[in-house]
């Protein structure tokens, strides 16, 4: 029997213009490609990655949208966004492009407990 894979939560904390945002997505997608049960939590400036209606071409950047939308297709279904980080930036869950679940501080603690491994990028 195949040994059970350890689950992985990738916490993405950087704004969409930072290379770090893409590099966090890449890790989640790579893990999913290996069949690792993976989830993502968007925290701090990372919540801005999810904001609809961005036009990164204006600053000669490639859109993250395609990579974000690939998450559910690759089996990264557990997508969370920090409610506090949204509120701090005056954002509502309805302004976000993916079906992400808003979580409060105590729920984040439960999430960290739930996953075998956590990487913050």
């Amino acid at each position: 029997m195949e040994p059970e894979l350890k689950s992985l939560l990738v916490i993405s904390r950087h704004s969409p213009t930072a290379a770090a945002a893409r590099e966090a997505l890449d890790l989640a997608l790579a893990a999913a490609a290996f069949g690792v049960p993976a989830g993502m939590l968007f925290l701090d400036a990372g919540v801005l990655q999810l904001l609809k209606g961005q036009d990164p071409a204006v600053i000669q950047q490639k859109s993250l949208a395609a990579n974000l939308q690939a998450l559910p297709m690759f089996g990264v279904d557990d997508l969370f966004v920090c409610q506090h980080s949204l509120s701090e930036r005056g954002l509502q869950p309805g302004q976000l492009m993916l079906p992400v679940k808003p979580v409060e501080g105590s729920e984040i603690a439960t999430l960290l407990e739930h996953y075998d491994q956590v990487v913050t990028l």
Binding site: L8, A19, L27, A30, F34, V36, V119, T120
Partner: protein, 129 residues
């Protein structure tokens, strides 16, 4: 116990030193390091071109010697490295760049190597933000 250690921060960040000290302590404690993985700005450690003032520590050299002396598996994320201008001979040739600045003991490879290392190690530890 088998450790997988990832470093995200560049040579200028204190995390690069903490990670090295931790890795040395892992071996000194009788444990094994199954893989080192260098991601994001940590790929700069794999460049052989950085020059430090003579009275300052050369962290890239310390990492290189630590990896060589202990014959460790040291993987540098190839996508992160190419973006930041860290290329071995094969990549310099492939992308028609005039020079390579990386090579043994570093290996350029994909993120899958980190995913695999996290799955197979008893402990996976990440340094830097």
């Amino acid at each position: 116990m088998k450790f997988a250690i990832a470093l995200l921060a560049g040579p200028q960040d204190p995390a690069a030193r903490s990670a090295l000290s931790f890795a040395q302590a892992v071996l000194a404690g009788g444990h094994q390091i199954s893989r080192l993985f260098f991601y994001r700005d940590a790929v700069h450690l794999a460049s052989s071109l950085a020059v430090q003032p003579q009275d300052e520590a050369d962290l890239a050299r310390q990492w290189r010697e630590f990896i060589r002396d202990n014959q460790l598996d040291a993987v540098v994320c190839i996508a992160a490295a190419l973006r930041r201008g860290v290329l071995n001979e094969a990549e310099a040739y492939r992308w028609e760049r005039p020079a390579a600045n990386s090579g043994e003991p570093w290996e350029l490879s994909g993120l899958g190597q980190w995913v695999d290392a996290m799955q197979t190690a008893d402990r996976a530890v990440t340094f830097g933000t």
